[in-house]
Each structure stands twice: as structure tokens, then as C-alpha cells.
């Protein structure tokens, strides 16, 4: 089982080698066998006696991150979809993509995507699932941007990347919370511990974060905006990723975790509402579109919304209908995308306003589209699978119960059937619009870039197989029922339920009446579509979410640029002000909040006249440096402060320090003078009053802070000084009477070693600075 995931990844490495032969043999022919073999491998599990399977390969056992693979009904359904439609898409792409395209890139991305998708649906380990989840985002990004020289492709790829990765990261957050709460990384053991999760205080966060991941991936309202722009991808990619597989990853996620959350009321409310809104909005928006693939994109959004709503309902019937519709949607939507690709390929345009009357030119394609669109519309004919799942959808929507739920949920239960019908009416309208807009009516050959003709048979094989699927499932719905749909539904519910029999004829019951209502109103709306054009154009008009995304993206850039410009001015003065200001505020707050300020007046020495007079001179000199205007004067006055310090050292009986301070002060004054000799005259600073007062506040504040710290540090001695040790042992161990020197060279010689190293580096740095400057001048 695990090898079916890893083999596509492994073989993707060899694609570049094979693609060298593309002038002789189309690369896709080799690739075709990979999904096909995987499909054949998994088809053996289909049957009524299906049992779940587990397989583990260690990856990072210490973190609980292992390739835990788990095959149950739900994963089997998805695995078959991915590999089966994958094979058909590869077959289709052989005829769709010419040999002048970069086939190597295409198939590498496609195989990467396929492996990632298989990994998502088979993983039982949440972290491995997340890994594959992001890999689908990345490979989808690469596939959407396949024609990277096209500006719209890059835009669409970036958009889908930003939105799906945003969702993926949210989902990751939910996963982390889940694994922390349950202390396991396996989804199946989480389901076993669902009581812990349901009683957790983090439950709302987990649910919202998880659903964000599912909604962004499955293009639910309001995150659906990336899907129409992803239509810039080659049509095989759209058919594969954006109808059958990747957009269903979100559905898979919701279905996978629904055994845990299904008894949580908000799960029902959020998922149902979002699903229903997406259904209505997507189907309404699809009618407005003029591009074939855009119609299909919005149609996908709406159908995904419908499945999502059913997963939210959570009743046995609804879940059954959901898995059934996942299968049905993949068949008819895949074929419709391929039809759209054929039309595009053979006529050179996808604009529905230019197309029309192609029935006579492309009878095969038209027949395929007929089945696809009619099945999508849910027309009550016994050979269209779309009808069955739509009927089940209606059925489940009227059988919702609100036992013990809040009044809002009760209201929702009342409204949902009406919304379901409302959304389905537009589904009918756009399906008819799609079919009759392209194949019906008069032809407008003058508008077409190419003369239309029937597609080559190779291109038709894949849609034919998919449409055969539509018809076979339509004729014998119970064929797929017990063999694997029932297992999938059981996996979603978490329990084994009674098998459901799908019948075409229920008798005159409410769902059928709903379906007939949809068809009735739908026909009226389709026939009078031209009259409604104004309405379709008016709403949503300017208030589109697409524009909102663009504005947000642009604002993010400009606002962050603005903010950065505010404080990254390049002025050192401002940076220093910020550093000091922040230090000041934080230290003050910390000191007062933790009671760090202590002022005690015991344990103080007597003040002598000489100390006062020296300090007085130093204060005067220090203040003098602020007001002096002349460079040399400032240096000399600063020297006074330095010598004052030396005198203080003498007073406080530190002869070594006094000596060093005297000499160093002299040297630094000399160096200052040397430097200022070369320097230009200080410009008079033109400061505003406010910046000046800010400077004063900061400097006075910092001085006050340091004073308080000094006093507090002196007032709170928590431990005895270690000075006594040095006094005692200086001669005994160090052999010297000068304690300072013994400490410097013996007891703490290590520090001294590096201090002289610092000095050496400084000297060499000055030397090289000066010399380098000279060399530059010489050049």
C-alpha cells in the first residue's frame, strides 16, 4: 500500500530522462502505466467483504511521526478516483499537449501531485497527512503556473498557493492541538478518544482551524476565489486537480474527522451553512460566466458546496449521498472539463459568446457533453447518476432533525431545503447554458480562430470512459453501492449501518417534487435567460470577493511598506531613540511591577568634602559638554570628567585603576584630538522642539533609570561578597600582595587574555581602516 504512494514520487525522478525521447514517443505514454497499475492494485479491494488495512513504516518514531497508512472505505473511494481519473487524464493529456510543450516538467509535477494526493487520503498519521497536504498545494501551484510566461497563470498560481497554504497552516494548528490533547498522532486513535476531544476547552479552536484548512482547499465560500483563477492551468490539470481530486481533499478531511465532530452542534451549523452558501453562490455565479472553464469552475465550487453541506448534515442518508456524489461529480465533471478542453483545442476559443451550433461539427463531443451536463443538472432520467445523488441530497435536506439543538440550528433546518432547491435551479440553468451555448443555436464560424472539427479519437477516449461511468452508475446504481460506497459511508459515520438501496422511482414523494420544481423553474429561467442578463450582471458587480482579494493583497504590501518606512528611516538618531526608549520603558515597568526598587539609607559611608568637590567639578564639566559649541572644547571638557574619575579612584583607594584611568584618559583625549583634526566642523543641528524634548525626556529618563538601578542594587545585597576570598588567598595562592593584579593575571587571567585580544583586534582594525581608505583613494 505504501509503495503506491512512493512509487509515483520515485518514478517522477526518471521522467526527465524519459522526456528526452519525447520527439519519438510522447512521454505521457510511459506515465500512463503508473496510475493505471495503481488503479488495478486497488480495484482488488473493492467488494462487499472489504476489511480495513493498516501498514506502518517508521519515519521519526521518537516524535510519533510515521508513515501510518490506513485503507478504509473512504480512502479506497478516493484512491480509486485519484488513480483512475489520473490514468484517464494522462491519456487525455497525451493528445492535448503537443510535443513542443515542456512535457518533462508537466509529468513530474503531475506525478508529484498524484503521490501527494494518494498520501493525503491514505495517511493515518496527522503529520504525514499534513506533509502530503502541503505537497499537493505546492505541486498544484506548479501545475497552475505551468504556462509561466502567461501573466494570468502566475497570478492564479500565486493566489491558489496563498489561500491553500493559509488553510494548510491553520489545519496544522488544529493537528497540533489534537495531538497534544489526545497524545497520539493517529487519526484512528483520535476517533477512539473522541470524548476527550469533545470535552476539551480547545474544541472550538480545533474545529475552526481544521475547517479553515478544509474550506480553503475545497474552495468553499469565501475562499472559492482561487479556483476560477486556477483555470489558467492546462485543461488536463483542471480536469484532474480542480474537479476530481485536490478540491475534494477538503471534503476528505471533513469526512475523515466527522466521526469525531459529528455530535458537536457547531460542526453541523458551520459546515452546513458554508456548504449551502457555497452551493447557491457558486451556481449563481456560474450563470454569469462567459468562459467555458470558468462556468465549470464555479460549477465545481457549487457542487463541492453541496457535498460539504451533506457532510455537515451528518445523517446516515446525507453521508451516503455525499460519498455517492463525490463519485458522481468526479465522473461527470471530469468529462465536462475534457469536453471543454476539446472545444478549446478544436475551435481555438473558450468564450461561450463566440461558440454555438457545434453539434453538427462535433457530434461525439456534443453527445459526451449532453450526458455530462444533464447529469450535472440532475435531470430525472434513469441513466444519469447526477440525478440519484441530487435526489438523495433533497431527501436528506428535508429529513434533518434539530433534536435538542439551539434555535439557530432549528431555523437552519427549516431553511436548508429551500436553499437547496434554490441552488439547484441555478445548477440546472448553467448546465443547460453550457450545453446549448456551445452545441445548440446557430454557429458563428466567422468568430472562431479555427475551423471546428471533431477531436481525434485518442482525446475522446477518456471522456467516453467517464461518461460510460455516468451511464453505468445511472443504470445500475446498486452496482457501486454495496461494493464500496457503503464502506465509505461507514468510514465517515464511524459505525456500520444498514445498506441503502438506491431506487430510481421512489413514488410521488417530496424529493421528486423538489426535483421537478427545479427542472420546471430551471427551464423557464433558461429560456428567459437573456432577459435576466441585467440582473446577472448587476449582482455582485463591484462587490466581488475577487476584487477584495486584490485590494487586500495590495493593501498588505503598501501598508507594510508604509509601516517599515515609518521606523526604518535610516536615521541612527531615531534608532538610538527607539532602543533607549524601549529599554527605558520596559525596565521601568519591570522594576516597578516586580518591586525591584528598594532604597535604604543604612550601610552608607560618610560623605567627605573632597568627594563632594570632585563630583561637583565633574557635574559642571559634564553639563558643559552639552552646551559647548566647539569640538575641541567638548573633548577637553570631557577629559576633565575622565580625570575627575581618576581622582575619585584615588580617593576610593584604587591605585591601579587611577593609574590606568589617567593614562587611558590622556591617550583617548589625544586620539580624539587627532580624529577631530580630520573631521569636518560639526553642523549646527536643526532640531524641532518636539524632537528636542523627546531627546531630553529619553536622556533624563535614562539617567534617572540608571540612578535608581544603582541605588536599588546597592540597597539590596542578597549574598555576601566574594571579595574576602580574594583578600585571604591572594598571597597564599597567587603569591602577590597586589590583589587587583593577582585577580587580573592569575585568578581571572582568562578574561585578561581576551581583553588584550580585543585591544589587538581594535588596533589592527584601525590600521586596516586607515590603510584601506588610502588604497581606495589611490585607485
Amino acid at each position: 500500500m505504501i509503495f503506491t504512494v512512493l512509487i509515483p514520487l520515485l518514478l517522477a525522478c526518471f521522467v526527465p530522462l524519459i522526456s528526452k525521447l519525447k520527439d519519438k514517443i510522447h512521454t505521457g505514454i510511459f506515465i500512463f502505466f503508473i496510475p493505471f497499475v495503481i488503479f488495478l492494485y486497488y480495484i482488488q479491494f473493492v467488494g462487499s467483504d472489504f476489511t480495513t488495512m493498516k501498514q506502518t513504516i517508521n519515519w521519526i518514531p521518537s516524535l510519533g511521526v510515521n508513515f501510518n497508512f490506513y485503507l478504509d472505505g473512504l480512502s479506497l473511494l478516493f484512491v480509486l478516483l485519484i488513480s483512475g481519473i489520473g490514468a484517464l487524464v494522462v491519456l487525455y493529456s497525451i493528445y492535448y499537449l503537443g510535443k513542443d510543450e515542456r512535457l518533462g516538467h508537466f509529468y513530474v509535477y503531475l506525478l508529484m501531485f498524484m503521490a501527494a494526493m494518494l498520501g493525503v487520503v491514505l495517511s493515518d498519521n496527522i503529520y504525514v497527512l499534513y506533509t502530503f497536504w502541503e505537497l499537493t498545494s505546492i505541486s498544484s501551484f506548479l501545475l497552475i503556473g505551468y504556462w509561466h510566461f502567461n501573466e494570468r497563470s502566475r497570478y492564479g498560481a500565486l493566489k491558489s498557493m496563498l489561500i491553500t497554504v493559509f488553510g494548510g497552516l491553520s489545519m496544522f494548528g488544529a493537528f497540533i492541538l489534537l495531538s497534544v490533547i489526545t497524545d497520539t498522532t493517529s487519526i484512528q486513535s483520535m476517533i477512539e478518544q473522541k470524548d476527550i476531544i469533545l470535552n476539551s476547552t480547545y474544541l472550538p479552536f480545533i474545529l475552526v482551524l481544521l475547517l479553515l484548512g478544509a474550506f480553503t482547499k475545497s474552495a468553499q465560500f469565501p475562499f472559492h476565489i482561487w479556483l476560477p483563477d486556477a483555470m489558467e492551468a492546462p485543461t488536463p490539470v483542471s480536469a484532474y486537480l480542480h474537479s476530481a481530486t485536490m478540491v475534494k481533499a477538503g471534503l476528505f478531511l471533513v469526512a475523515r474527522f466527522s466521526p469525531i465532530f459529528s455530535s458537536y452542534e457547531w460542526f453541523f451549523i458551520i459546515v452546513s451553512i458554508v456548504g449551502i452558501i457555497t452551493l447557491c453562490w457558486g451556481s449563481y455565479m456560474a450563470v454569469r460566466q462567459t468562459d467555458l472553464k470558468a462556468i465549470l469552475a464555479f460549477s465545481t465550487i457549487s457542487q463541492l458546496g453541496m457535498i460539504m453541506a451533506m457532510l455537515g448534515f451528518g445523517t446516515d442518508l446525507a453521508i451516503y449521498a455525499a460519498v455517492f456524489h463525490i463519485l458522481n461529480h468526479a465522473t461527470f465533471k471530469g468529462s465536462l472539463f475534457m469536453v471543454a478542453g476539446i472545444v478549446d483545442h478544436e475551435t481555438g476559443t473558450r468564450d461561450i459568446r463566440k461558440l454555438g451550433g457545434l453539434l453538427t461539427f462535433m457530434p461525439m463531443t456534443a453527445t459526451l457533453a449532453l450526458f455530462g451536463t444533464f447529469s450535472m443538472a440532475g435531470i430525472p432520467l434513469p441513466f444519469l447518476n447526477g440525478f440519484y445523488s441530487k435526489e438523495l441530497f433533497f431527501d436528506s435536506s428535508i429529513h434533518l432533525t434539530s433534536n435538542g439543538l439551539s434555535s439557530f440550528a432549528e431555523f437552519l433546518v427549516q431553511v436548508i431545503p429551500y436553499l437547496a432547491v434554490f441552488g439547484s435551479i441555478f445548477t440546472f440553468v448553467y448546465s443547460m447554458y453550457f450545453f446549448f451555448g456551445v452545441f445548440g443555436g446557430k454557429n458563428q464560424l466567422s468568430l472562431l480562430p479555427k475551423k471546428p472539427h471533431e477531436a481525434p479519437i485518442g482525446m475522446l477516449i477518456s471522456p467516453i470512459i467517464l461518461v460510460l461511468g455516468v451511464i453505468v452508475i445511472g443504470l445500475f446504481p446498486n452496482l457501486v453501492n454495496g461494493t464500496f460506497l457503503a464502506h465509505a459511508a461507514d468510514a465517515v459515520k464511524g459505525t456500520v449501518a444498514e445498506e441503502l438501496h438506491i431506487l430510481f422511482w421512489h413514488g410521488w414523494k417530496t424529493p421528486l417534487i423538489m426535483s421537478l420544481t427545479v427542472v420546471g423553474i430551471g427551464i423557464v429561467l433558461t429560456l428567459t435567460r437573456k432577459k435576466w442578463a441585467g440582473v446577472y450582471r448587476f449582482i455582485p458587480g463591484k462587490l466581488s470577493l475577487f476584487k477584495l482579494y486584490d485590494i487586500v493583497l495590495e493593501k498588505l504590501n503598501s501598508v507594510s511598506k508604509g509601516i517599515t518606512k515609518q521606523y526604518m528611516t535610516g536615521s541612527l538618531r531615531l534608532y538610538v531613540a527607539i532602543i533607549l526608549g524601549v529599554t527605558l520603558t520596559l525596565t521601568f515597568i519591570t522594576m516597578f511591577a516586580t518591586g525591584g526598587v528598594t532604597i535604604q539609607f543604612d550601610n552608607l559611608a560618610d560623605v567627605r568634602v573632597i568627594e563632594v568637590s570632585v563630583v561637583f567639578i565633574m557635574i559642571v564639566a559634564a553639563i558643559g559638554t552639552i552646551f559647548a559649541r566647539n569640538n575641541v572644547a567638548i573633548i577637553l571638557i570631557a577629559g576633565v570628567v575622565g580625570y575627575g574619575v581618576a581622582v575619585l579612584f584615588v580617593i576610593y583607594r584604587a591605585p591601579d585603576l587611577a593609574l590606568t584611568q589617567l593614562v587611558i584618559e590622556t591617550v583617548s583625549v589625544v586620539l580624539f584630538l587627532l580624529c577631530f583634526y580630520h573631521m569636518p566642523k560639526l553642523r549646527k543641528r536643526d532640531e524641532t522642539k518636539s524632537s528636542k524634548s523627546i531627546n531630553i525626556i529619553i536622556s533624563v529618563g535614562f539617567g534617572a533609570l540608571m540612578t535608581i538601578i544603582g541605588i536599588s542594587a546597592h540597597s539590596s545585597k542578597w549574598f555576601d561578597s566574594i571579595a574576602d576570598y580574594f583578600i585571604e588567598t591572594s598571597y597564599k595562592l597567587g603569591g602577590g600582595h597586589n590583589i587587583v593584579n593577582v585577580i587580573l593575571v592569575d585568578m581571572r587571567g582568562f578574561d585578561t587574555l581576551f581583553e588584550i585580544t580585543v585591544l589587538g583586534i581594535a588596533a589592527l582594525a584601525i590600521f586596516s581602516l586607515v590603510k584601506l581608505k588610502k588604497n581606495k583613494e589611490a585607485e
Binding site: 591601579d656 603569591g735 587587583v740 593575571v745 592569575d746 587574555l753 589587538g760 581594535a762 588596533a763 590600521f767
Partner: protein, 141 residues
């Protein structure tokens, strides 16, 4: 060319420089027991040299003191490090010092400490550093 007659300066310098140098050596050697040490000693030596440079000019002093002060920096650091490494030979941790009393024919009993070697390293480094900085900046036009 203007040439100042700085006879008094030069004469006093030749006296003072030697006194300064002597004082510097004293500071270095006395450091272990009285105020002083390698750092101040180095600075003091440097100030004696600077005084010579000031009164006799760079070219003249270069002739009598043919030292590249930059090389003193690594030499000093090397002395200090070797002193530290030397303690490994006696199976002691880095920078362990020892001392002892020895009687010499002329000086009588004298205390010798390995810390002194380290101090000499400090002395040489500080001398090299100070001279390098001052000469580099002073030479820069």
C-alpha cells in the same frame, strides 16, 4: 621651510624618556605586589615612545627604534597564550599559575611567578596596540 628650534624639548625629552621607560619597567615588574602591572606598564612605555616621536620626528625615531609595533601585538598575545598552554605540560588546567622563591647571587631572595610571564604578554600587546593606533592615525593625512 619653517624649522622650529626645539632644543629644550629635545634635551629634556632625552632625559625624561629614560625616566619614563625606567618607571614603566618598574610598574611592570612591581605589579604583583604593588600598584602597577602589564597594562599600565605598557601604556607608560608607549607614552615614552610617543614623547620621543613628538620631539624628534617619526623618521629619526624609526632609525633608533627599528620596531614594527604591529608585530608586537601577535607576539604579546602569543606570550600570554603560551603561558596558559604551558600549564598543560604540568597536567594543570589552562592558565594555572605557580610561584616560588629563589635565591640569586646578586639580588638575594626573589619571588618568581609564572603570572609574570603572562603580564609580560599583556605588556607587549598593550605597547603594540597603543603605538599602532597612535602612529597609524598620526601618519594619516
Amino acid at each position: 621651510m619653517y624649522k622650529p628650534n626645539d632644543l629644550i624639548l629635545r634635551t629634556t625629552t632625552s632625559l625624561i624618556a629614560f625616566i619614563l621607560l625606567g618607571f614603566a619597567i618598574y610598574l611592570l615588574l612591581a605589579g604583583h605586589n604593588s600598584p602597577g602591572g602589564g597594562f599600565v606598564g605598557g601604556l607608560m612605555t608607549a607614552s615614552a615612545f610617543v614623547l620621543m616621536y613628538m620631539s624628534y620626528g617619526i623618521e629619526t625615531v624609526k632609525k633608533i627604534l627599528p620596531i614594527n609595533f604591529r608585530t608586537l601585538i601577535p607576539i604579546g598575545l602569543l606570550i600570554a597564550v603560551v603561558t596558559g598552554v604551558g600549564s598543560f605540560a604540568f597536567n594543570e588546567p589552562f592558565l594555572s599559575h605557580t610561584f616560588g622563591y629563589f635565591t640569586f647571587p646578586l639580588f638575594g631572595e626573589i619571588e618568581l611567578a609564572t603570572a609574570m610571564l603572562f603580564d609580560i604578554g599583556v605588556y607587549v600587546t598593550v605597547l603594540g596596540v597603543t603605538m599602532t593606533i597612535i602612529l597609524t592615525i598620526a601618519n594619516d593625512q
